[in-house]
């Protein structure tokens, strides 16, 4: 759009233009490695060694496909996902989809606060102090509108996830073995294994990631002529996020799995970073966990409340007073309060809570994926920007895969295999 006014495109302008578009992709990618993300990959790497690496490769492809579809829908229609679902499928389907989104996002929000609890307890501060404090802080920052100032700090804390990449090189894994596992799929019909597979999928390709991606591209008013830059950003971002995830698995597999340590708490998870920073590992780990958790906890309940209210046409957005947008604020505060309550239940195991919520994400994901696929293939919605055959085969393949894995989980107890936990 701006380009129509800018007459002389030089390479400098191109670069500037790219930088204004750059963002959603890279940001959702960093969000892959939020608290539940780190918990899931640590669990996977420490329990199954390098065996999950092939899955990360598959998921990377899946995430690129899914996020690109969401971005394209945002660019073409200028509308949110919930908005489009409502317009095309009516009230009943929307209600069901929003219920799924609400449950999945509530689970992930709980996981974020569990991340806060796990991170701060590692430093010896009780969760009964830090979690309510974090909730009040998050709500205050977001409702006051001063969230943007803090965002940068939290993003910097998120960079702590990069330390896994350095650690991986420091601990000298058997690279041959790593490569072999990246290209050799393995699968066991063991429920615990299946739950772990689902969690790994669910923490990377998320319902809220789709909704977020579409909303932010629609919000940025990306011109279709410049859509290829957005596509590049999305694809690069998704790949990058998963590279970091793969390194978490490699690191935990090399440092923990090799020594028979299965991650069941933050204490053990932090050990993975010890080869790089020694005793400082717990601080580094806490920084990463806290930054990502607070970031996601600020955004998730808000974007969920926004999507649900958008779908049903209720007053939404922080520009409304509490009285005018009761449902919006009710959902927002409700999600935070409920999440805090769950995390503070006496004796609830934080690490399993974090990654199991991600399995739930994956189980609920196909609902949204099917709707997105129907929308993105509808010529009345997308015009000439519908999916190509290859995109459809891959996206439906991914949806089918998740459904299949979920079904395997449901029937596996019938074959005498023990349920997890």
């Amino acid at each position: 759009m701006l380009k129509r006014i800018l007459k002389l495109p030089s390479w400098l302008q191109r670069l500037g233009f790219y930088l204004t578009i750059l963002g959603p992709g890279l940001i959702t990618a960093s969000a892959d490695n939020d608290a539940p993300g780190i918990a899931t990959y640590s669990m996977a790497g420490s329990t199954y060694g390098y065996r999950f690496l092939w899955l990360v490769v598959v998921i990377t492809l899946g995430e690129v496909i899914v996020q690109e579809m969401a971005a394209r829908m945002g660019a073409v229609t200028g509308k949110g996902t919930a908005d489009l679902i409502r317009e095309r499928f009516g009230v009943r389907v929307t209600a069901f989809a929003m219920l799924c989104l609400l449950i999945a996002n509530l689970g992930t929000t709980i996981a974020q606060f569990a991340g806060v609890a796990a991170g701060t307890e590692l430093l010896g501060v009780s969760r009964y102090v830090t979690v309510p404090l974090a909730a009040v802080l998050v709500a205050y920052l977001v409702l006051r509108g001063s969230y943007e100032h803090v965002e940068k700090v939290l993003l910097v804390l998120c960079l702590a996830a990069l330390s896994y990449v350095f650690t991986a090189f420091a601990v000298r894994p058997q690279w041959g073995e790593v490569l072999r596992n990246a290209v050799t799929p393995t699968f066991t019909a063991d429920p615990a294994y299946i739950m772990a597979v689902l969690a790994t999928i669910g923490t990377t390709i998320t319902p809220w990631g789709i909704v977020y991606m579409q909303a932010s591209v629609a919000d940025k008013r990306v011109n279709l002529a410049d859509y290829r830059y957005t596509r590049l950003d999305v694809m690069f971002g998704a790949t990058w996020g998963n590279v970091v995830s793969a390194f978490i698995i490699i690191t935990t597999a090399t440092t923990l799995y090799a020594h028979g340590i299965r991650v069941e708490s933050a204490e053990e998870a932090a050990l993975a970073l010890a080869p790089l920073v020694g005793a400082g590992a717990r601080y580094l780990f806490t920084a990463g966990l806290l930054g990502a958790s607070l970031l996601a906890a600020s955004v998730l309940p808000l974007s969920t409340a926004y999507a649900v209210c958008e779908a049903f046409g209720w007053e939404r957005g922080l520009d409304h007073k509490g009285r005018d947008a009761r449902i919006f604020y009710g959902l927002y505060v409700g999600m935070i309060v409920l999440s805090v309550a769950v995390v503070l239940l006496p004796g609830i195991p934080l690490f399993p809570l974090m990654w199991l919520s991600q399995s739930l994400n994956a189980i609920l994901l196909p609902v949204l994926l099917v709707l997105v696929l129907k929308l993105v293939n509808n010529r009345r919605v997308m015009g000439t920007w519908v999916n190509s055959r290859v995109q459809n085969v891959l996206a439906w393949g991914l949806t089918g895969l998740i459904v299949l894995v979920t079904l395997t989980l449901l029937v596996s107890p019938l074959f005498g295999v023990q349920a997890p936990l």
């Binding site: 800018l6 200028g78 317009e87 977001v142 629609a218 600020s298 955004v299 922080l318 409304h320």
Partner: protein
């Protein structure tokens, strides 16, 4: 009450009780009327094959859709292109409630028999509409009765809504007429709530003046986005219509090259004013002052002064004119008289008793916060801005702009970026 959702997918029966097909859509015409009449029902046979049943052949719609003729006697109907397809284009879409001045979602459509015709009467945007669509109306009512509360049904009469679809120029025209009557601040809020293509389509249908007014009430990002969806020539025309201080603020938010190009396209006089304002730092009084205000030479009598103002170009451009600023030959501020005193004074009276000779003033680099503070302290509706060295009068800051610096309009607070 009859609701459109009750027709969706219903079997249509002919006069002998034979099934004809299922109702796939409802077409109404004359949507600029108070009660747009039903024109036809659409039945869908396959993916794209549609049959139409003209309204004249329908004897009842509820509880079942029956025709007054037999299947083979049914008259043909060919859409003329001006019909509105209720299920496809209105139901579940966003619509502007011009009474409540906000964007709402259509949960259901209310229909009624008006005389001989079935007509569209209103838009259900309340939760009862949602419950009905979910098939939970009975349960919802029962629960509400238990709690001694009632579900409010919220139906907006059709004449008070503006349907909006960017793919639909006809609808846009009707809506445009209904929306332009709203205050600019509400138009800005509505544009902000609409999805991008619809917002832009609406934007393009506005006149330069209306667009300029709406832009002045919009937050910076929205302004930039709106302006960039226009051609440079149109954008320049709109900028000319804006207050110079607002136009300067907006141009300051654009890339330098773009703003330079737009300034070149603007008329010389308007562009010069804006350029002068652009030179001031963004948070200084210069950044929010307007250069269009009423001023007059000092020493005139009341009647002379009023006559002078009537012929003054600057006074005509002054939007509010709370005060008249009196200046000397070197354009230095010498005094201020409130419009009230000026009007109440006898025509031939010497104005000295009413003129404040040493008025409260700020200079162009005073911080905006301090400007607001000064105005609050002295209870001013506008404060003059002078050049600090020469004392020349440059412009005025009005109370609305000062308030904006300390109390940004609530809805201008944007949702934080997700991540």
């Amino acid at each position: 009450m009859l609701y459109a959702s009750q027709l969706q997918g219903q079997q249509v029966w002919d006069a002998w009780g034979r099934p004809v097909g299922r109702c796939a859509d409802v077409l109404v015409g004359n949507i600029d009327q108070q009660f747009p009449p039903l024109r036809a029902l659409a039945l869908r046979d396959g993916e794209d094959a549609e049959r139409f049943i003209p309204a004249g052949c329908i004897s009842s719609l509820y509880p079942s859709i029956t025709l007054s003729v037999t299947q083979d006697k049914r008259k043909p109907y060919t859409p003329k292109g001006d019909e509105m397809w209720l299920f496809d284009r209105v139901l579940d879409r966003q619509i502007v409630d011009t009474e409540g001045r906000r964007v709402v979602r259509v949960n259901d459509l209310q229909m009624a028999r008006v005389g001989e015709q079935f007509c569209l009467t209103g838009v259900d945007v309340g939760s009862t509409g949602l419950l009905r669509r979910l098939g939970l109306e009975q349960i919802g009512q029962a629960v509400a009765r238990r709690l001694h509360r009632s579900w409010e049904s919220h139906v907006i009469p059709w004449e008070d809504v503006a349907p909006l679809q960017h793919e639909d120029p006809l609808r846009l025209r009707v809506s445009h007429e209904r929306i332009t009557r709203l205050p600019p601040a509400d138009i800005a809020a509505i544009l902000n709530d609409l999805d991008r293509p619809t917002g832009e389509a609406l934007l393009h249908s506005f006149s330069d003046e209306d667009l300029a007014d709406a832009l002045e009430e919009s937050p910076a990002e929205v302004q930039v986005a709106m302006l960039s969806s226009l051609t440079p020539e149109r954008a320049a025309d709109v900028l000319e219509e804006m207050d110079p201080d607002e136009a300067a603020d907006l141009l300051a938010d654009l890339p330098e090259k773009t703003s330079a190009q737009l300034l070149d396209l603007m008329e010389e006089a308007d562009a010069a004013e804006v350029r002068a304002l652009l030179a001031y730092p963004e948070d200084s009084a210069g950044g929010i002052m307007t250069t269009e205000f009423a001023h007059a030479p000092i020493g005139l009598h009341a009647g002379e002064l009023l006559a002078y103002l009537r012929h003054s170009e600057d006074a005509r451009e002054d939007e509010v004119m709370y005060y008249v600023y009196l200046i000397d030959d070197a354009h230095r501020l010498c005094g201020v008289i409130s419009l009230r005193d000026l009007v109440m004074a006898p025509p031939d009276a010497d104005l000295s008793p009413w003129v404040e000779l040493d008025p409260v003033k700020v200079n162009s680099y005073t911080a905006q916060q301090d400007v607001a503070y000064t105005m609050a302290k002295y209870d001013l509706l506008a404060v003059p801005v002078v050049e600090s060295e020469t004392g020349a009068l440059l412009g005025i800051v009005t109370v609305d702009d000062a308030i904006d610096t300390v109390l940004p309009t609530a809805w201008k607070k944007r949702l934080p970026r997700f991540f």
